[in-house]
């Protein structure tokens, strides 16, 4: 059975592109534009990995991540932070991400990072 990846980014272009590319790689993709829905989606669909943008309206990626880490059910969920912010890697590390990749990224690299974690 193929692995499920939840992608949360407020930019539809990136969501579409990642969905397109990662499906090609054989992953099941759950795209999510609204970070407020993440907890529900995780609870209902049990993704194997979360690709998480940082800079999102209302609820930012690092806030999401910190909440996830506090919850025993999601504390070990592999999370890769993807961000265009220069401080992205630091924020990712501080919030408990497993890995980080900066936008714009090389697709092969992203796939390698995903495969390392799941």
């Amino acid at each position: 059975m193929s692995k499920k990846i939840l992608i949360c980014d407020d930019d539809e272009g990136i969501l579409d592109m990642l969905e397109f590319v990662l499906e090609e790689e054989g992953f099941d993709i759950i795209p999510e534009k609204n970070s407020l829905n993440i907890y529900n989606v995780i609870r209902e669909q049990h993704p194997d990995l979360l690709l998480l943008d940082l800079w999102m309206p209302v609820l930012s990626g690092d806030q999401v991540l910190k909440t996830l880490r506090k919850n025993p059910d999601t504390a070990t969920l592999p999370v890769i932070v993807i961000s265009a912010s220069t401080e992205g890697s630091l924020i990712a590390k501080a919030s408990g991400a497993n890995d980080y990749i900066s936008k714009p990224f090389d697709m092969d690299q992203l796939v390698t990072k995903i495969q390392t974690l799941i």
Partner: protein
């Protein structure tokens, strides 16, 4: 000459004739000219002159006996001394004047004339005696002296004027300057402040001048660190530079002030005074912060769609059919290159703005230095088809520094090496530990850099002229590199020969 007989001078009552001759000889022996005029005759004619008079005036006795003295003035008749003489004659009084007189041959001489009347028993003036001295030399010296004095006075006047002017000049600068200025004495009492200070801090001179600096307002300047710096100014002549004071000031509220303080030196004077210049940088700092925020957001927003484009281009590369034309492949490859370039430009723009405002923040954390370099090389290699990057050496060091910034430096050096060696195919990276430093060298065999340009390539916005034509860019990459390395306490440099490639190296201290 009885009176001189037997070697002793005896004034004789009998030999008046001899006495007269004695007197006449005595008068002739005098160096002063002597004339006698007869006031009882019309126009006061000269009735006697001695030898000295002849010598001084150049006139012979026979030429002047019977004349009035005025011939001595020739045409120079408007001298005010004549008036004094006339009055003395009319009143029968004595007088002394200095007059311009002329010798027979026309030569000017200054005549110091002492004139005194001889009166009879009834008090009528019978004669005038004039004693004349040629004081031309003295007069000349006096005049020279006067000239010198005048000159000196003029000079002093000029100097005073220029001093006054430069004082006005300084005062107008002090009044115009858009900084608050405070002059302190060695006891840190405020001697004076300029108008701008009064305006900026909304205070009066009375509550400011002659007060201790540290007691002004609500103690805004009473900062131990500032105190220490100020106390060092006079003894060491070390200025206080760019000292920031953020404070809730009375009347004007929370402000950020920038302080500079120097010992005042003005032509050796005032060495015991301190000048403080205060600039309100509250607004400037706010604008800088907003600019940084704006650039941060802008670069983030620009990078987001770029991520999508880059992703799709990579998809296109994967979907590329086996039999795709070379043209199509080239187009795809070039698109990839330009996406990378655009991404770099966006990052550089953000970085250079931060460096300019001094806001480059280092997030230091320990990381595996060799692994970091290897990954950076791998990343660049993965998108480089034209060159092979060969990494040699190792440091075995866990370095404490800002990893993402140092990666940026290596990326920049590598992409430069690739960019500027289009005819070559190999780039060498050498990693080593030297004493208590780590060293990274990136060597290409490309076009190289002239010695003249080597000094400038780490400057902001510098581009080698001919390079600008072939490889457009902002010319800030190496500037950013050098700032990042500097911020880590390291050095970056280049060794290169034109046409033979370049070797860029940097070292970072381990402590």
């Amino acid at each position: 000459m009885d009176s001189l007989n037997k070697g002793s001078f005896i004034f004789s009552n009998q030999t008046s004739e001899q006495d007269f001759e004695l007197m006449t000889r005595a008068l002739d022996a005098s160096i002063s000219g002597v004339i006698i005029t007869d006031n009882q005759q019309p126009d006061n004619p000269i009735i006697y002159c001695n030898a000295a008079f002849e010598r001084i005036t150049g006139y012979k006795r026979k030429e002047i006996i019977g004349h009035n003295c005025r011939f001595l003035q020739k045409e120079d008749r408007s001298q005010k001394e004549r008036e004094i003489l006339r009055n003395a004659v009319a009143d029968g009084k004595s007088c002394v004047v200095e007059m311009r007189n002329y010798q027979k041959n026309g030569t000017l001489f200054w005549n110091e004339l002492y004139m005194s009347p001889i009166k009879d028993a009834e008090g009528n003036v019978c004669y005038f005696i004039g004693v004349q001295n040629d004081v031309t030399r003295r007069k000349n010296i006096e005049q020279e002296l006067k000239q010198h004095q005048d000159q000196m006075e003029r000079k002093i006047e000029e100097r005073t004027k220029s001093l006054r002017e430069s004082e006005d000049y300084l005062a107008s600068i002090v009044a115009t300057v858009r900084e608050s200025l405070v002059v302190l004495n060695p006891g840190f009492n405020v001697l004076s402040v300029n108008d701008h200070f009064i305006k900026t801090f909304k205070v009066s001179r009375e509550e400011t001048e002659n007060k201790l600096l540290y007691e002004l307002g609500n103690g805004q300047w009473d900062i131990p660190a500032l105190k220490e710096l100020l106390e060092n100014i006079l003894p060491t002549n070390n200025p206080v530079e760019e000292f920031e004071v953020e404070h809730d000031f009375p009347h004007i509220g929370k402000k950020l002030m920038l302080l500079n303080a120097h010992r005042i030196e003005l032509e050796g004077q005032f060495k015991d005074r301190i000048l403080i210049a205060i600039e309100d940088i509250t607004d400037r700092r706010e604008i800088e912060r907003r600019k940084d925020d704006f650039l941060s957001i802008a670069s983030h927003e620009l990078k987001t769609p770029l991520t999508t484009i880059k992703g799709y281009v990579q998809v296109m590369n994967r979907l590329l059919p086996e039999n795709a034309s070379e043209k199509f492949k080239t187009v795809l490859q070039k698109t990839g290159i330009y996406i990378t370039r655009l991404n770099n430009l966006i990052s550089e723009l953000l970085d250079v703005s931060r460096i300019q405002t001094g806001n480059i923040e280092l997030h230091k954390e320990p990381f595996d230095f060799d692994k970091m370099v290897a990954e950076a090389v791998e990343n660049i290699q993965s998108v480089t088809k034209t060159h092979t990057i060969i990494l040699k050496g190792s440091t075995g060091i866990t370095y404490v520094g800002d990893e993402s910034h140092i990666v940026q430096v290596i990326n920049n050096l590598l992409s430069n090496a690739i960019k500027y060696s289009p005819e070559e195919h190999q780039i060498n990276v050498y990693l080593s530990r030297v004493s208590d430093f780590v060293k990274v060298s990136v060597t290409d065999t490309g076009m190289g850099i002239s010695h003249e340009d080597q000094n400038k390539i780490f400057d902001r916005f510098f581009r080698v002229g001919e390079i600008q034509q072939r490889f457009p860019g902002m010319g800030i990459g190496l500037y950013i590199c050098s700032e990042i390395i500097k911020n880590h306490g390291g050095t970056i440099w280049v060794e290169s020969e034109k046409g033979q490639g370049s070797n860029f190296s940097f070292t970072l201290p381990l402590n």
